[in-house]
Structures are given as C-alpha cells and as structure tokens.
Amino acid sequence: MSTKVRIPTPLRKLTNNEELVEISAATVGEAIAELQTRYPGIQERLVDESGEIRRFVNVYVNEEDIRFLQNKDTPLKDNDEISIIPAIAGG
C-alpha cells in the first residue's frame, strides 16, 4: 500500500531535498514511524516528548486536517497523500 508524503521545506534537509516521498503505512502514526526509519531525526521534529504531534505542526490526509479525522490513528488507503504543514498566520 503506497502513500505519498509531501515534505515541507524545513524538513527537506533530512530527506536529501526530496519534496515527495512514497511510503507504506496503515495509519498516520505508522507513516511518521516509517519516515523516521528512512530519515532518522524526522520524528522528533513532528512529535513531542509525550508522543503527540507538535502543536504547530498541521498534518493533512487528502487535504483534510487529521484533527477532524482520527489524529495519528487516521487510517491510510492506497494512493492517499499526506501533507505536513507548519501553522501559518491569519489574513
């Protein structure tokens, strides 16, 4: 099962400047763990000491904020796309 993950600029140093990486995972939480295996150090940027996604990190599955889905337990299907985006200001 293949999921595309869109990597934000601040993390691309860890992914050798790859913008889009393909992984195989059943949930968002597993996807982050898989990213960590492939790009050591990436997990601690996204997840805090208690294992929760950091408060200024927004994660979307197919353009929907995972806080409206099942957070880290949000299931992934084949060809889903995950975007990781820093919180940005209002306008």
Partner: protein, 434 residues
C-alpha cells in the same frame, strides 16, 4: 503633515548612529529571528518556522540600543504614521512601503459607553486606516518594506479579504508583482477591492484554512515573499503599531481593558507585546491591564478554549458572517490564550445577529461603520460589561479593525429601507406625521 521617507528621520542623525555603531547598517535594531518555542536563533531572512520543532519565529530586537534612541520626545516630533515607532518595527533601513499608514483616530465614545453601561470607552478606529481601510495596512506596510530589503520582486498572501486588499494596493504603489489567494465565498466588496489594483487574484474553492494550507505549499515551491507565510515574523510585528498608538493617544498610558477581535489571534498577542515593550523601555509606566478576546460564535476555537480553561484549542469548520475572522485553525491561538490568561482577560463570542446589532450600535452611537469583525468586538464588549467581567466604573478600548463598506452584504436587509416618496412636500409631511 505627511513626510516622504527622506524626511522621516534626519539623515545626519542616522549616519551619526551608524558611525557610533549604535545601529547595524545591515539589520537596524533587529538581532535575529528567534523560535518562540525553543529559543533557537536564525538569520533575519524570509523564514517563519523553526526547523527543529516547527515553532513560529519572531523578531528579536536589541532593546538596549532602542532605549538609547526612542523616547516620547523623539516619537512626538515624527510624522503622524505608524512609522513614528520605527525602531520597534522590523525593517533594517528607512521604510519604503506604506509611509502614510496608521495613526488612526482614537475616538472617545461617550454615547456608546452610555449604551454599554461603562464609565469610559474609546474606539481605536482602523476603519479609516490608509490606504485600504483596515488594520492590515499596518502589517503589509512592514512586510512589503522588509520584502524589498530582502530583494523580492513578487509578493503574495492567503487572505480572508482585508489582507488581500492591502497587499494588492500596497504592492501596486510599490511596483511589486502580487498574487492574492482568497476563499471563493468572500464578500463581493472585498473581491472588487483587490481586483481593482491589478494583482493576480486566485479564488480557491474552500474555506480560509484550506487556502492557507495551499499557500504554505506554494510558498515552499516559489521564491515569493508570502507576507503571512515566510514573511510572517516581520508582518505580524506591524500590528504592534496599533497598541503603540493607543498608548500615545491616551496620554502615554496603557488602557485598563482592551478588547480585540481574533481570527488567528495574532493582533491580540501583538497589542500585548506593544504594551510590554513601551513599559520595558520606560515610555509608559507599568500598570495592570487586561486584554480580552472576541470571536464569532460560528468560529470560536480560541474563546471556547478560554471558557473551558484549556491552554489549547480544538480546530473548527467556520460558519459565520464574520468572514474576516473565519479561521478555524488559528496559528496564534495558543499564544492568544496565554495572553488572555496572563492578563486576567476574558473571552466571549457573539452570534451573527449580535454581530449585526454590534455594527448598528457603533454606527448609531458614534458614526463609525465597522465591518463584521467590528460588530464582533462591540457585541463581546457589551456582553463582558453586562456580565460584570469588565467593571462598569473602568475604562476600555475597543480595537475596530475594518470598514463596513467592505461587508455590505452582511448588513444589507437588516438596517431598514429608504422611505420612497414623490417629490412633493405634501407626501413628505404625510410621511413625517406617520
């Protein structure tokens, strides 16, 4: 009297400061960008996020240097614009965009005070801010001045309307190429008010949080100055000027109560910062103050969290006529909650009907026509005073951030109708006698 940039500060004084090493030619009074979460420092480039914890970056200043340059006398001698507080705004050299922005009236609102039942009330009236009639001209003026310093020729923004208007107008006057991204369901007035300046207006089929997400992705790909993405640390600082002006216009005092509407929550946090900076620099005396937050019931993630004594918010899908406040995932929500808590402020929200009533109250009592966000601020002030959370014998300032001419759709049909007669004195008098 307005001045052009060459007359803002006497050139010899500037040169003298640079010769003495009082101010760095490269960075002015700024020291670095600093992560608000972990404190890591970054160079003063177009960058908004800490690469270690995604915390927002904020401009750090050299306050010792500023203390030597800025005082009441210096400020009072300068032209009436937000740039009279230039040392506390993040540009390295003379500002180049939006030199006439700010210094809007602080109106003593006696009639509204009486209606709301409070001893003293002031309206900080950014409905007449130059040039696009909202407080966003303050942040855009800073963001575009800094964008030019950093060498950008294209600017962009994600906007609920007012920011789009301001980026479009200020970019036009500065000769910069502009892209503005807006939700497709915006008020017609706000769309026309962007198109007329000739930028690329991209209308997105989705709500603002979706526009924001797309813009974050676009900003990662194109080398543009996105004022509320990669230029955010500079942009957000422009809001402080509203607070500086309030204190100066009150006779160098911090108001006891300030009521601020919240979308991302940034304005509220920056007004707090402005009060702290003037206190720290000795420009005003330290005093106890309360900052209260106002949201629309149809999009109230921050005030809902505050009422539940939480220090985090739950994102919502907005549904309100206050479209300029319709941000369901407020980037500064965490910090806005912190400010409200630390200043013992309160938060509340108002329904669409209460928003319209707030707009009418302000218009009928003070002759000021605010957009929906202003209706939110007035409506929440009314509630907080009625509930005794703002004591009736205190003084308060309402920050009114945008002009009602931009959101006519929201009130049309709710303000009565013109009475039509033929051009006849008899018909007029018959009308009067009814």
């Amino acid at each position: 009297m307005r001045h052009d940039s060459s007359t803002f500060f006497p050139a010899p004084q500037l040169v003298f400061k640079q010769l003495l090493g009082l101010m760095s030619e490269e960075n002015g009074y700024m020291k670095a960008l600093k992560c608000r979460e972990c404190g890591r420092e970054y160079p003063l480039t177009a960058n908004h996020v800490c690469e270690f914890d995604f915390g927002p970056l904020e401009v750090a200043y050299d306050y010792d240097l500023i203390r030597n340059s800025l005082n009441r006398e210096v400020i009072s001698r300068r032209s009436n614009s937000m740039w009279r507080y230039r040392e506390l705004l993040p540009v390295a050299k003379e500002p180049t965009v939006g030199l006439q922005v700010g210094y809007t009236p602080l109106v003593k609102a006696d009639r509204l005070a009486k209606r709301l039942g409070i001893r003293e009330l002031w309206i900080k009236n950014d409905t007449v801010n130059y040039p696009t009639l909202s407080f966003k001209d303050r942040v855009v003026s800073v963001a575009l001045s800094r964008s030019k310093e950093l060498g950008f020729d294209t600017v962009a923004c994600a906007s609920t309307g007012n920011l789009a208007n301001s980026v479009a107008a200020n970019a036009a006057s500065a000769g910069l190429r502009a892209f503005v991204f807006i939700p497709a369901d915006l008020e017609q007035g706000k769309i026309v008010n962007s198109l007329v300046y000739g930028p690329e207006v991209i209308s997105i089929k989705g709500h603002y949080d979706e526009v924001n997400r797309l813009c974050a992705e676009i900003a990662g790909k194109y080398s543009w100055a996105f004022v509320n993405v990669n230029m955010r640390p500079y942009y957000a600082e422009g809001s402080k000027s509203m607070g500086f002006e309030i204190m100066e216009q009150l006779g160098w005092e911090i108001p006891k109560h300030t009521i601020v509407c919240m979308a991302s929550g940034s304005l509220l946090t920056k007004i707090h910062k402005s009060y702290q900076e003037f206190s720290k620099l000795g420009i005003v005396d330290e005093s106890k103050y309360h900052i209260h937050g106002a949201q629309a019931t149809g999009c109230s993630p921050i005030t809902a969290a505050h009422k539940s004594s939480l220090d985090f918010f739950k994102p919502v899908k907005p549904d309100t006529i206050a479209k300029s406040l319709a941000i369901g995932t407020p980037a500064d929500g965490f910090y806005a909650l912190k400010v409200m808590r630390e200043t013992a402020g309160h938060g509340d929200d108002v329904t669409d009907d209460e928003i319209r009533e707030g707009i009418r109250l302000l218009a009928e009592c003070e002759g000021i026509f605010a957009e929906t966000a202003g209706g939110v601020t007035v409506g929440v002030a009314k509630k907080l005073i009625a509930n005794g959370l703002i004591p009736k014998d205190d003084s308060a300032v309402l920050c009114i951030t945008g002009n009602g001419l931009k959101t006519l759709d929201a009130v049309a049909g709710h303000v009565g109708r013109a009475k039509e007669i033929r051009p006849s004195l008899r018909e007029f008098e018959a009308l009067l006698s009814n």
